[in-house]
Symmetry: C2
DNA sequence: GTGGTAACACTACCCAGGTAATTGAAACGA
DNA sequence: TCGTTTCAATTACCTGGGTAGTGTTACCAC
């Protein structure tokens, strides 16, 4: 449950979270360096973002020397779940099948992916 | 393709779109009346929102008497697709299977839904 | 015609995400 | 010791979603 679902996360914030989930810990500089070169953002932008995110409870930091070392304060799957659920609820009235149906209709899907899906569903049925 | 994906839509805007998709056309008053009573919003809020949405190209209006009759300017599935794709890309690097896997792990899913999913995937495999 | 009401128009907020310059302090290097 | 770099802190600004008050007009009922 983890107190008040997270379902809104901007692109930048999500990228930052992904870096943190990936590395466990990272300084502002690390995060800045780790981000996709496609859009070169200022170092200060990262710093500001991280502070805002800490205020919101998404990350925490500790001091090491005079650097802030950040880490995620929420687990990746809690966030994924919050966001995915929110979308399923908003768009498909909570029906996973409707969502998948829609995705299958509108996206390219490889045979491998379909096979994987079949297997996932079969497994899930066992576990019912 | 409909020019530039729509992947950001706030809750209110999405609700409004759903009303329009549902009815085809609706006046501000209709939309206002149709919205979930849970949060009673002012009539003017709807009017403002609809004007903003028109500026963004989400809806159009025509004049009938002195009322604006709004209709959606983008199709429901284009929007669903934009939003769903965006999420799949952001959270699961574009892998539908990863997304479904995640959802299957973290959500309650009924046997019926699993069966429906199986069928959907089987059908999709045919059509490959 | 006059007054109420139903419509849009305009304007103003708030908030959060995103972006960054500026400032100030600490550390480091010569 | 003095300049340069490296950090964090502060501040500011833009955008878009959301919310609504106020203003204005047009129309309908008396």
């Amino acid at each position: 449950m983890t107190a008040s679902r997270i379902h809104r996360l901007g692109d930048l914030q999500l990228h930052i979270m992904q870096v943190l989930w990936d590395r466990g810990e990272a300084t502002v500089g690390d995060v800045h360096a780790a981000l996709p070169g496609t859009r070169a953002l200022a170092y200060t932008t990262m710093a500001t973002m991280l502070r805002k995110m800490e205020a919101r409870g998404l990350v925490k930091h500790r001091l090491e020397g005079r650097s802030f070392v950040y880490r995620a304060a929420v687990a990746a799957d809690v966030v994924s779940r919050g966001m995915a659920d929110h979308l399923v609820d908003r768009l498909f009235e909570g029906s996973l099948a409707d969502m998948v149906n829609h995705l299958l209709k509108t996206r390219e899907v490889s045979r491998e992916e379909l096979v994987r899906l079949e297997r996932l569903i079969a497994e899930r049925k066992q576990r019912l």
